[in-house]
């Protein structure tokens, strides 16, 4: 373990300097969702009752979930599509491994970049929420590190999964997992609206943990169960990095 992984982050920074438009798009997407669903659909829905908080406007309910979702999406995109391209086609990692960098540095560096980018998006989105008057509590400042945690968990899982991908066709599976999770992690309606049996399924999905954390922080409704959500994501990220590192060693240095 060394600090050399920062140079992998630096490499991505160098590459994205010319791709700022791509960079910007990651910020625009959740804002569009907020405007269309939160504000637009919200007009029709009116208010939502959150246990422990009471009735709140729909956009206030959806915004923290979008924050969690964008953390997930950004980090999954960086560690699956982008990662796969560098690993399989550009051979960027082979170049790195000919230097003092090792596979762990590569995995940490790619993850570090995904987190850095995710953090910038999270901060920008939180600022947007503030402008729209959707932030209820000072605890919301912790929503940024919470986004990093979500990013970490999904980066680990995404990177590990990518090491099993054979071609870009396999990435359809990524969407098969992400889209239902996006729609059904208590993102757009409260957990109590799901049938009893399904509630338990929702509770164990990774995005639900993120949504629960972000919503609590933004609404200022803290509860000890948040520690379980946090622990879940920490373990998910750690296992992911470990598996990804091992797999990369096997694949890149046979």
């Amino acid at each position: 373990m060394s600090f050399l992984f920062v140079h992998v982050v630096e490499r991505n920074f160098m590459a994205y300097r010319r791709m700022w438009l791509v960079f910007l798009s990651g910020f625009v997407e959740p804002v569009l969702f907020l405007l269309s669903i939160g504000v637009g659909v919200g007009k029709l829905v009116g208010s939502v009752t959150v246990p422990g908080v009471g009735a709140i406007p729909y956009d206030m309910f959806v915004a923290p979930a979008l924050l969690a979702t964008s953390a997930m999406n950004g980090s999954v995109f960086d560690t699956t599509f982008n990662f796969f391209f560098k690993y399989k086609y550009a051979k960027s990692f082979d170049a790195m491994l000919a230097t003092p960098l090792g596979t762990t540095d590569v995995a940490l560096g790619e993850m570090g970049w995904a987190l850095l980018r995710g953090t910038i998006y999270a901060a920008a989105f939180l600022a947007t929420m503030l402008v729209f008057g959707l932030v209820e509590s000072w605890w919301a400042i912790l929503a940024i590190p919470a986004s990093m945690l979500i990013g970490f968990a999904f980066a680990g899982a995404g990177m590990a999964a990518t090491t099993w991908m054979r071609s870009f066709v396999d990435f359809d599976y990524v969407n098969i997992v992400l889209v239902p999770m996006f729609l059904f992690s208590a993102t757009f309606f409260p957990l109590s609206r799901y049938p009893e049996a399904l509630q338990w399924v929702v509770r164990v999905t990774p995005l639900y943990q993120g949504v629960a954390i972000e919503r609590s922080l933004v609404l200022g409704d803290l509860h000890w169960t948040l520690l379980l959500n946090v622990a879940y994501l920490v373990v998910m990220g750690l296992v992911g990095v470990r598996v990804a590192g091992k797999r990369l060693t096997k694949l890149l240095t046979p």
Partner: protein, 318 residues
């Protein structure tokens, strides 16, 4: 003179391999090779595709663990000291691994950062190196737009950013046209003159002859001969080779008894017959006096290709 005053100036070898092996599952890529490379040498692995050259280079480059035997690079063990060793290597891999999302100059800059070198130092170094490989005017171009030869030269420049003690080049000119090849050779030749230690693999005998002070010939994971190009040719081939081509296979076949009568060693290939001799002129005169009809007839000096053919019964390119 007292014995205590004689200095023993033999520096330790940069690479020592004993019984080095690489296996992929059941298949054996490198089958117990012994190699030592001294500082300042240009050392080559010459062999056909699949001989095990890349597998060997990757073990030396500490990106592939050995399956058996001993290996020491720069005095360290790749199994435990990979990062320390790699910090002092310059690697030109068989397949280009240039960063396609970066410019020519940025490729050198970021590569230097992977070695944890300070930015200011790398910037100066990058300009020097791009000058050295004649890519200064392409500094700000995307790598995609470079020709194959330019990419190869950039890879060489990049590999030198850390002022390596040992430069590993895996097939530095494979796939390049003759002109691009000569440009690469010229740069490697300069490096050699500056005292760099080069280890290269190739399946071009002319490349091995041009660049290597000493080389091993590899075939099917084993080393079949070792020495300087001159020594190898002297030992395993004759001074001259007579190359004879015939109008057809049957004519070639019919000519064989007369060729054998010369008494020299003969290699029969699909499209020609080689006659290994030290008296080419005299032999040719005798054959012509004998009425032998050939399509083309050529007397040339023996090359490493002939050494390989003698040792393995096959040509390098097949």
């Amino acid at each position: 003179m007292p014995v205590a005053c004689t200095f023993v100036t033999t520096a330790p070898p940069l690479i020592v391999a004993r019984g080095l092996e690489k296996r992929f599952g059941a298949s054996v890529a490198v089958d117990g090779i012994d190699v030592h490379v001294e500082a300042g040498e240009a050392f080559g692995f010459l062999g056909p595709n699949g001989a095990g050259k890349t597998s060997t280079m990757r073990m030396i480059g500490c990106v592939s663990p050995r399956s058996g035997g001993e290996l020491s690079v720069l005095g360290f063990d790749p199994a435990t000291d990979g990062p320390q060793i790699r910090a002092r290597l310059g690697v030109v891999p068989q397949e280009d691994t240039l960063d396609l999302e970066l410019t020519v100059r940025e490729n050198v800059l970021i590569y230097g950062r992977y070695f944890d070198l300070p930015r200011a130092a790398i910037r100066t170094r990058a300009d020097e190196l791009l000058e050295f490989v004649q890519l200064t005017d392409r500094s700000n171009d995307r790598v995609d737009n470079l020709s194959g030869g330019m990419k190869r030269r950039l890879t060489i420049a990049r590999a030198l950013v850390n002022r390596p003690d040992l430069v590993l080049l895996d097939e530095p000119t494979t796939g390049l046209d003759p002109q691009a090849r000569h440009l690469v050779w010229d740069r490697l030749y300069r490096l050699k003159r500056q005292g760099a230690t080069l280890v290269l693999t190739t399946h071009y005998m002319d490349e091995a002859e041009q660049l290597c002070d000493r080389l091993v010939i590899m075939d099917a994971g084993r080393i079949v001969a070792e020495g300087s190009p001159r020594q190898l040719i002297e030992k395993h081939a004759t001074r001259e080779v007579v190359e004879l081509r015939f109008r057809s296979e049957s004519v070639q076949h019919a000519a064989l008894p007369r060729l054998h009568a010369i008494g020299a060693r003969i290699e029969e290939l699909a499209d020609r017959v080689l006659l290994y001799t030290n008296t080419g002129e005299a032999d040719v005169e005798r054959l012509q006096a004998d009425g032998l009809e050939t399509e083309t007839l050529l007397i040339r000096r023996a090359s490493l290709e002939d050494v390989f053919l003698t040792l393995t019964g096959r040509t390098l390119e097949e």
